[in-house]
Symmetry: C2
Subunit: 328 residues, 2 copies
Amino acid sequence: MATTIVSTVELPEKARELLRSYNVNLYELPKLGKEEQSSALSSAEILMCWCGREFDLTSNIKSMPRLRVIQTFSAGVDHLPFTAIPSNVEIYSNAGAYSVPVAEHAWAMILTLAKGLHKPVLNAREYLGNELTSPRKIIESTLLVLGTGGIGREIARIGKEGGFRTYNIGINRSGRPAEYFDEVYPTSKIIDVLPRADIVAIALPLNKHTRGGLIGERELRALKRGAIVVNVGRGDVVKEEDLYRVLKERQDIRFGTDVWWVHDGHEEIPPRTPLTALPNFLGTPHIAGGGAQREIAEYAMIRAVENVIKYLRGGETPMNKVNRDDYV
Amino acid sequence: MATTIVSTVELPEKARELLRSYNVNLYELPKLGKEEQSSALSSAEILMCWCGREFDLTSNIKSMPRLRVIQTFSAGVDHLPFTAIPSNVEIYSNAGAYSVPVAEHAWAMILTLAKGLHKPVLNAREYLGNELTSPRKIIESTLLVLGTGGIGREIARIGKEGGFRTYNIGINRSGRPAEYFDEVYPTSKIIDVLPRADIVAIALPLNKHTRGGLIGERELRALKRGAIVVNVGRGDVVKEEDLYRVLKERQDIRFGTDVWWVHDGHEEIPPRTPLTALPNFLGTPHIAGGGAQREIAEYAMIRAVENVIKYLRGGETPMNKVNRDDYV
């Protein structure tokens, strides 16, 4: 019996080709009319999903009685309506698919902020004399990365392996060692290591351990004078109101973010506080991962398909199985 | 007999301390009144000099009949009035003193431009869809560095040694191999290698070989589609009018510069064309080297003093002897 796979987006040709060797019926929703969509969903066993505004999983899940697997195209799964998903459905994320472009974006924000390129003025005395733009050196800085997963490790690699020769401190849930990190501590020690960092990169997933603001006023106030902080994880890891208050007061801190705060299930840009008006703030509209052209999106989709193929084969274990207990 | 050294600026305490072990009379001009300045200059054998607006060497050199050595604090010496300096005066530059911060600034401009952070908008569709901001990937790019001296080599190192794993092509006068470069070609081959580069970093000194615009319309038109170009060498290595014309037409090229065009002996910022108004242009006011706080300026001054000490000792050869034939 053929397995029915429904994708919420059109797949690249290479991904379709990979699936051709398997006994599957593939339906790509954008190619179908309303009725065909309903029929595809009713037979769906595997859902490959960008579950955002375009495809509302909460309302659609009831129309998928045969669903066994959800594979996301996104790296994060915090936006999934976990309570609505039947407990027998296995969920796989696409963690790691965007590590390289996201880490590059993190470094681009770090350097832009460090050298004052977010607010360049053409007068040298002003440029050098102003706390908002005066250039900071990067080489041999101490880099603190919150999250030692795919993205965090790639940020650490870029800093350490050569280029900027950073000294890398990592934070993860258990404090277990990770490649490219000189020291790693558990989440509970954040407050102790923050004052040591010249640069802080936040690359944490949003789950029940980080939601609601791992980084609040106390953590932000613990930052070293002149610290550069960038967030490419999830907006809600940082408390927005606290961030606004501390950044407004401490102009020595420069903060960049590609990720924003979620309200009613969606990232709101601009955010609710007037953060984007602060001169020591740099924002990009969640484009780090989707950035560098179609090649990245295609790569991510192919990776997701390859993971589904592991499931189809039966013998192999798919990667990135989501532990619902982290989210619910 | 004590040797008389005149410095056009106040030296850091550590530099003064280094000189104390030698038989020298040190005069720092800002500490002296008008008459004392004249008397110091008339006995000066070694001049340590920021020869810019603050100290006009052309008019002062006649008051220094005993002058034997000029040691600049700057890395470049293109601004010196070579024809006014007697031929028996030896000239030493401070090349290399600013390599690390300047190379970091070059990389900061590269990443800012590559990721669209010079013109961030908060709408993802616009950000990604616009040729001016759509993010480019850096990893495994081909990096062409014009100039394989201290700064060029440091730019190549940051790209190659780890981080971004760039493939490095260098250009220097003879085409001799250089550390951190996969291939090196002589200046005459620029036009052949330009189309291969994703990123071009200009780190050439200004001398008679590069003055008048090594990079003109023909070279700029040879750039690969979507190229990122940054200049941290000297403005006049690039022809300003040509640059303006090509950048205006080819919005796929993103250009950043920290160095500007010299008129009447001084860098003019803003420049004579409306370059700074172009959306694919990023400018900083020659702050790459002087940037990261006082520590860099002090380091550079100490280095210059250490070089003078090599001269004082007699046995050692000072570094960076300037070959006047390159400039006149």
